[in-house]
Symmetry: D2
């Protein structure tokens, strides 16, 4: 997948700082932690659309779970780096959606991923329809050329 | 607290290996991860006494939660090190217990901690009595000179 | 140690959000992760005084390492909670300092800790004097009634 | 990719236990942690072939870094579950290799991934040839029908 420019207006952006906890003995961010960074960005993106996940669980018994992740690690990040994470909806279905996400330091693309998340019942992990209110907001947020 | 010799017979021991995930950019084990190592050892120690924590939660609605931790970090551990973790009951009460734990590489003490854990109801986090079966096993396991 | 009010002007404050990565199967923040939250706050506090740790390592070959942690866990935090972390210098010495830190959700104290950090050479982990520029800033930042 | 049977003799296997640290508030293993489990298995697999990564870094200045991960999460794991991780070489090149890995609880496939790792110089992260001794062992270990 081609990298998206971080300056595109339709991308949601979230900034994180790299702390000691994020690094490993290679002196750089431990690769698995990009999944954490991507998730922080998705969480803030959902919040920006008006949806908190704890509230979703408490009120509707629904959770979003990650069913697939594919990540390319292109360039390492180091302690104290400020990273910009992006979120872009690639595809939204009844019970799942696929997001494209990137991690940048300045203009440099460090990692990029495709994350598929599904809506499930909190107790049983059975697939459920994504609430209409969320799907409606998604279509609004992606109704621009991407 | 004085270090306990790892060769004392009454100490429970559990071995872990240091992986990339455990290290930080200082090239050594990230200090907060000793709390994880100590907990793995406590979990295996409880299991060795016949008690699984998921089973405890499912059957009795009880969880052990950590209420206090004090850890001294004496010497760093590195990737691929094999660490021995010890568990020793310092004090057992109706609803809580205090454990003394150490991390060794060979004979070298790397970290030592005192961990207080309490028994609570899984939903409310209200203190509950530790099941008698567990307290009975604890008194057996600590009924030796420590 | 008595809790410090989060409204005291001389405390450094840093805000974090609780994400899935921070929680455990008890439904709350995994206790070891308060050490991460405390460290993020210390890192931002040092940065607010003009000192980046990667820069310190690159330019002076010095690192701060944690030598002791003592934490009381008083009340659980949940997904989506916004936590305020505080930093207060308790004692500054030539090669180490002790900080008092708290985690609040609103006015409620969730956890409090004392963290001792030492200045060491990055390669050898041998104690080194804290750079004068940092000690000078610390004395300024703690030169108010605490 | 079709799941490999955990009973195939040519697969390397490593067992891990699920602890509190591995779970999240959904009550199951946090998906990003499968990358940690997979890596523990890769590390032990390399060790079983005679190669320690700290030793590789100290003696040759080489590190293996992860350049791509693709993981399907099929079924959740819970606290206290014992998981079997598998490692199988899909492709070995001069400077990188691709591994297929699975996580099973008993016969049930919970997660499966493809992980590409590259050999780099520890300081610069520039690609380097994988040492011949390792490639030779890999070809031996994969010289059976897979």
């Amino acid at each position: 997948m081609p990298p998206l420019s971080p300056s595109l207006p339709e991308l949601y952006r979230h900034t994180v700082r790299v702390y000691w906890e994020d690094t490993d003995a290679g002196g750089v961010v431990f690769y698995a932690n990009y999944l954490k960074f991507f998730e922080r960005a998705r969480t803030e993106w959902l919040r920006s659309l008006g949806f908190g996940q704890q509230q979703l669980k408490d009120e509707s018994g629904l959770m979003f779970v990650v069913s697939h992740t594919a990540v390319n690690y292109r360039s390492p990040a180091r302690l104290d780096d400020e990273l910009t994470l992006t979120v872009c909806v690639r595809e939204a279905r009844q019970a799942s959606m696929t997001l494209s996400q990137q991690a940048f330091r300045g203009d440099r693309l460090l990692a990029e991923g495709e994350i598929r998340i599904g809506c499930v019942a909190a107790g049983t992990f059975r697939p459920q329809r994504i609430p209409t209110a969320i799907l409606d907001r998604l279509s609004l947020s992606t109704d621009r050329p991407a």
